[in-house]
Subunit: 113 residues, 2 copies
């Protein structure tokens, strides 16, 4: 068993092309012995966003703080703190912070071989 | 893609033997098309607790509100809001609320065949 404050985990700037103002903490990963799915938290600065992209794996997301605008092929939807976002495999998606405060979300992904 | 407020999901009382004062919201499950892992939130009332038990699958947990006491074979550890708990397969574990305020945690589990 591992128990720790997420804030004690190093925050890394994400340098994905098409993203801006995004940092990540890897909370539960292969290094912890996780075999099937992994937990991360993203901090998105005001005006920042993840890339608009797709990939063959799903995302299970929970908005922790602030308000996200979630873009997909169906348009843009608001997701304030307390909202759940389930992104299916191969769906286009982007998380945007169009507010003047930090936006934070938890995002879990499966192990992809 | 699905986007919704977790509070719009029905809250069910958990009736596991050995547990008390625990309710659950299933946020992302098979019914949503999730194939590999599932997201739930548990509300634990003051004085409430989950069963002290073990099973062959892991838990990836994030404390959302209040303070949990997490019991394992190694004793009891405090995990206030913002803490991560990774429970390995076959580890004994229990989440207790020994405060006078609601305790809430997110708990993800893999699909178990």
């Amino acid at each position: 068993m591992k128990i720790f404050n997420h804030k004690d985990v190093e925050l890394w700037e994400v340098k994905d092309e098409g993203g801006e103002g995004v940092s990540i903490r890897w909370l539960i990963s292969k290094d912890d012995g996780a075999q099937r799915f992994f937990m991360r938290i993203f901090d998105v600065q005001p005006g920042g966003h993840t890339p608009y992209h797709k990939h063959p794996w799903e995302h299970e997301v929970f908005i922790l703080e602030g308000k996200a605008e979630v873009a997909s092929e169906k348009g843009k939807h608001s997701a304030p703190a307390g909202h759940v976002v389930f992104v299916l495999p191969d769906e286009h998606h982007q998380f945007r912070n169009e507010t003047d405060k930090l936006m934070r979300f938890m995002c879990l992904i499966p192990k992809v071989e």
